[in-house]
């Protein structure tokens, strides 16, 4: 069950040795790339039955206090503090449960989880347990939007195919998105459920009126991009960042090119874009860039489709630039 051979810290996260000088008010400051790292070989100790259960047997364990009867899952203790430290015993709990409360959804993740976003993390009370287990929650139908999983939503634990004895070996999806047989199956694997593939939306041919809307929106987008390039704060937002984005909307398509502090628009089709944006209405992107609503929110609310979820990072940068221009105007 061990994961395929990989490094504890992926090479892509490790910066090169380097330094540079920053001048502020004519004074030079030395800035160096640096890291603080420690490796561990750590036992899961008394928690081992729980993590071995996830890894080897696709089972979930809790612990039961014989005095008060409370079943805690996860079983993070061996003696019940509510009953003068009476010893608890390991018990198996169910693989279906309900959400204790509505789970948050992270769109802007920490640097280790950028590839995972957007994701939900909530607490599930599994059948047979009294306390809640922290889990990631997903939908099988694409990007997790608010309202899909709420307090009381019945969810099923799914086991990743490749497990290493960590809490991330499992996650939950709504029971309503599974078949009865899948819900009943213990140890259901991620590969045994149907994940809706990311399919690029098709756009219909624009009417004459839509062509006019496109022209108007394109004009505005060009103007905003020009302004972004003239705004120091906005340029800083994309310093060190390079992306070529193909934008497709009803009425036409164009490219947005981000190149280490510069942003430009080109009315062309890219041969190898880093990612594709599709918006039914060109106004969606124009509004976002002009700070009349976040582009991030348009992706979440499915007004704008992106071909790679990881590119939320670029979307955040575009939102940040829109705000920087707005701030600079004040």
């Amino acid at each position: 069950m061990a994961k395929k051979k990989e490094k504890l810290i992926p090479a892509e996260y490790i910066p090169d040795v380097g330094s540079h000088v920053l001048t502020i008010d004519k004074v030079k400051y030395l800035i160096a790339n640096d890291a603080m790292y420690t490796f561990y070989q750590r036992s899961k100790g008394e928690l081992s039955p729980f993590f071995l259960g996830l890894r080897d047997d696709k089972k979930i364990f809790g612990c039961k206090c014989p005095k008060c009867g409370l079943v805690r899952c996860p079983p993070f203790l061996t003696h019940c503090p509510d009953c003068d430290f009476a010893p608890t015993r390991i018990v198996e709990v169910g693989q279906v449960g309900v959400m204790l409360s509505t789970p948050p959804i992270t769109y802007f993740a920490n640097s280790l989880f950028l590839k995972m976003a957007p994701y939900g993390r909530g607490r599930v009370v599994l059948e047979g347990a009294d306390t809640a287990l922290s889990v990631n929650v997903y939908t099988t139908t694409g990007i997790l939007a608010p309202g899909i999983i709420k307090k009381g939503t019945k969810v099923k634990v799914i086991f990743r195919d490749d497990r290493s004895g960590e809490i991330s070996d499992i996650f939950c999806v709504p029971v309503s998105e599974l078949t009865k047989a899948q819900v009943a199956k213990k140890g259901l694997l991620s590969s045994q459920i149907n994940w809706e593939a990311a399919v690029e939306p098709t756009l219909k041919k624009a009417t004459a009126a839509e062509q006019e809307i496109y022209k108007k929106a394109l004009k505005e987008i060009k103007a905003v991009i020009r302004l972004m390039n003239e705004t120091e704060r906005a340029r800083k937002d994309i310093m060190g960042w390079k992306r070529e984005i193909q934008v497709k909307t009803t009425g036409g398509e164009f490219a947005i090119i981000i190149n280490n502090g510069d942003i430009s628009l080109a009315e062309k089709k890219l041969t190898k874009p880093d990612f594709i944006m599709v918006a039914k209405s060109p106004k969606t992107l124009a509004d976002g860039l002009a700070y009349r609503g976040a582009i991030t929110d348009s992706v979440i609310m499915k007004r704008l489709w992106i071909s790679k979820n990881m590119e939320f990072t670029t979307i955040f940068k575009l939102d940040r630039m829109a705000r920087s221009v707005a701030r600079s105007k004040k």
Binding site: Y13, I24, V27, Y29, N33, D34, M36, K44, L47, C68, L70, R72, P74, F76, D82, L100, S101, T102, P103, P104, I105, T106, Y107, F108, A109, N110, S111, L112, F113, L114, M116, R121, G122, R123, A129, D130, T131, A132, S134, V135, N136, P146, K150, K151, E166, I167, S168, G240, W241, Y291, R292, G293, A294, I295, I300, T313, D319, R323, R327, K330
Partner: protein, 398 residues
């Protein structure tokens, strides 16, 4: 009988998104230089120091205070550190108070410092994801870190659970108005990170979702800076006050509580911030406050998130639980309302230099009590996963 303890000096450095010009050594010394100047004493007159520093990773060293002790002039004197997440500053004030009230020392320096945006993510070429990661190491290492836990998503858990119970409260237009109001207050705080960042409620509503339900302009910002207080027992405080001509602001109440870090039956009650409730009510009791709605004039509340500000105000019994929107809808925190809330701009606009933040809040509360000739303020710190920790201080100006 414990001794009375008062604040006789306070200072902050500018709070900035990034201090390339200074290390945390210099920020700490800068705040110390300013606070002894404010109290018109020499550092030689200070008996003890209580360091408020949250995260070793930010300072890129374990026990980061060891390097500070000599350079702030406290060689061979008492020094200890408190680290309780976002509540670090308020807890540190509480610790210093306990030593002074017990008669161990006559004076104490409370010194908070944090340098967070040295953390840098080379993948996105920006600081924020790495700062969030560094905070992420504060999550439970067995059951949460690998799930992408962040401070924001853990507080969002509490907020969403509250909204499950009270779906008509914490309306987006109200949270937007609160954020906009704080952005107006910050205009007079020349030390604030976002002194000139005034936003309309519409701009708040339009800002992007970071962690549902939090929008970018409803979240505190990461900050580098330092803040310091001089506390003294009664007789010493009176002597210092006579010298400075500034009134003493007494610490008359303190309360602290830490909740369970796991949720469910007999554990954390997710829709509540019980630590806020317990700590504030302990502090009210200690200072003899029977009706906080009548007694509290100024609130300096740790607003990690606007939604949490509203919930905390309800846990303080300053607005009904389930109708925290009355803060705006009924004008309780609007100018001319019952309470002045976060006149410094809060952590959302002043900035959140974690260990220093609550000390900055106490600095602001002291200034406002004196300037506005008001009697009572409450200063608050919240921290750790799912708003687990709280420390609260009641300040009174006689």
């Amino acid at each position: 009988m414990s001794k009375r303890v008062g604040i006789v000096g306070a200072a902050v450095t500018p709070f900035k998104a990034k201090w390339n010009e200074k290390t945390y050594y210099e920020l700490a010394q800068m705040a110390t230089r300013e606070v002894v100047k404010d109290a018109k004493i020499s550092i030689k007159d200070v008996d003890s120091v209580f360091y408020a520093i949250y995260n070793d990773i930010f300072e890129r060293t374990c026990i980061p205070e060891h390097a500070l002790h000599g350079l702030i002039g406290m060689q061979n004197k008492f020094g200890t550190r408190v680290s309780t997440g976002g509540a670090t500053g308020a807890y540190t004030i509480s610790a210093a108070h306990a030593y002074l009230a017990a008669g161990r020392f006559k004076t104490a320096l409370v010194l908070g410092v944090e340098k967070c945006t040295d953390c840098f993510d080379f993948m996105s070429m920006s600081a924020t994801p790495e700062v969030i990661k560094s905070i992420g190491w504060s999550a439970d290492s067995f059951f949460e870190q690998r799930l992408g836990w962040t401070a924001a998503d853990s507080y969002a858990e509490v907020v969403l659970a509250y909204m499950d119970e009270h779906p008509k409260d914490l309306k987006p237009e109200v949270t937007a108005k609160i954020s906009s109001l704080l952005s107006q207050y910050v205009k007079t705080n020349k030390f604030a990170q976002r002194q000139h960042d005034q936003v309309t409620p519409q701009e708040v509503m339009n800002s992007r979702l970071v962690v549902y339900p939090f929008k970018e302009l409803e979240i505190c910002v990461y900050t580098e800076g330092a803040a310091a207080l001089i506390l003294a027992e009664e007789e010493t405080a009176k002597a210092i006050s006579k010298n400075t001509g500034k009134p003493i602001v007494w610490i008359t109440g303190l309360g602290e509580a830490n909740e369970h870090s796991f949720a469910g039956k007999n554990q954390k009650v997710m829709p509540r911030i019980m630590s806020d409730y317990i700590a504030s009510h302990q502090a009210y009791k200690m200072s003899g406050i029977k009706n906080p709605r009548k007694s509290i004039d100024i609130v300096e509340l740790h607003d990690a998130f606007v939604h949490q500000l509203e919930i905390t105000m309800s846990e303080f019994d300053l607005v009904p639980r389930g109708n925290a929107d009355a803060l705006i809808d009924e004008g309780l925190m609007l100018p001319g309302g019952e309470y002045l809330v976060n006149p410094c701009g809060g952590l959302i606009y002043s900035g959140h230099a974690v260990g220093a933040s609550n000390i900055m809040s106490a600095w602001s509360a002291r200034n406002e009590l004196i300037k506005r000739k008001k009697k009572t303020a409450i200063v608050h710190g919240t921290g750790s996963t799912i708003a687990q920790y709280t420390a609260v201080c009641i300040l009174e100006h006689d």
